[in-house]
């Protein structure tokens, strides 16, 4: 851990760089990309669901109770599934709800129930340099990646491809999955088998 007199200026320097790039990024978006504000019905739906997804993610990170976090994560998964539907990926949207919001989150809730964590307050801590620098680092990551992505795709891919509605169906994906990708498909079943065996071995109480 850094001493106090060194940690403060180091953090200030770390904090200024993502702040500047974030402001630069926002200015760029509102200067250049005004046609993104066409309020068709579909765009309003996309905006609504993406705001709700970000809200769910933020609440998931900030809530103290793990069950509340899990429920907000389910909200986020449903919103992302709606965004998949608006991107014309029907099969993936259904699988998202079934696998993520259904199977994986039920597993999480079961584990939370099994562990019986009585004192939640011990896990939370007051704001420290560690917390502050974690927020700054993630903000820095976001601004660096966002600027890169923004300049790379500034004038490309303005519209969803005209064949997008046909490629998202179960028929097309299943056809591709069982012909071109049949070998990876089989390999994935081995991954699942290994996961099942591993989970049982790890969670077992004693070996006989």
């Amino acid at each position: 851990m850094l001493p106090n007199w060194l940690a403060r200026p180091a953090l200030a320097g770390l904090g200024l760089s993502p702040g500047y790039s974030f402001i630069l990024y926002l200015a760029l978006i509102f200067n250049h990309n005004l046609n993104f504000l066409q309020f068709t019905f579909e765009n309003i739906l996309i905006l609504f669901f993406s705001l709700l997804a970000v809200f769910g993610a933020l609440m998931m990170v900030t809530r103290k109770n793990p069950i509340t976090s899990a429920l907000y994560l389910i909200l986020n998964f449903f919103c992302v599934s709606a965004i998949y539907l608006l991107l014309r990926a029907q099969f993936i949207a259904i699988i998202q709800v079934l696998v993520y919001a259904g199977a994986i989150m039920v597993l999480f809730l079961f584990v939370i129930m099994l562990l019986n964590l009585h004192d939640e307050s011990k896990l939370s801590e007051k704001i420290t340099y560690k917390k502050l620098s974690a927020i700054l680092i993630s903000l820095l990551l976001f601004s660096v990646l966002a600027i890169t992505v923004y300049f790379s795709y500034m004038n490309k891919y303005r519209e969803i491809h005209s064949s997008a509605e046909t490629i998202g169906t179960i028929e097309v994906i299943g056809n591709e999955l069982y012909t071109t990708f049949s070998f990876p498909f089989e390999l994935v079943s081995f991954v699942l088998l290994a996961a099942i065996v591993g989970a049982i071995v790890l969670a077992k109480k004693k070996f006989d």
Partner: protein
């Protein structure tokens, strides 16, 4: 609405996931943040798939979801085993491997 919008949304979700992994001390919530990050990568795959008109991105999403399910099962089993041995899932107290 261009592809930029969806990519930035995915980046935002990914950064929130990174912040959660760095901030939280509860191992289950750290795990949920990893799921969130995987999910945002899936969003990038799907948006590229539909803006390029190519279905391979969606097949990759299928595989990523399978790996995420496997990872969740094994990870939660590890958390249960840890809790059984140490009576805690605070990741600051689980430091036997730290040298």
């Amino acid at each position: 609405m261009g592809i930029n919008y969806f990519l930035i949304l995915a980046l935002l979700l990914f950064s929130i996931g990174v912040a959660g992994v760095l901030l939280r001390r509860n191992a289950i919530i750290v795990f949920m943040c990893i799921e969130l990050m995987l999910n945002s990568v899936n969003l990038v795959f799907v948006s590229f798939s539909s803006y390029l008109g190519n279905s391979i991105g969606q097949i990759f999403v299928f595989f990523i979801m399978t790996v995420a399910a496997a990872e969740a099962a094994v990870g939660l089993a590890i958390i249960i085993a840890l809790f059984r041995n140490k009576e805690t899932i605070n990741i600051d107290e689980i430091n036997i491997l730290k040298w």
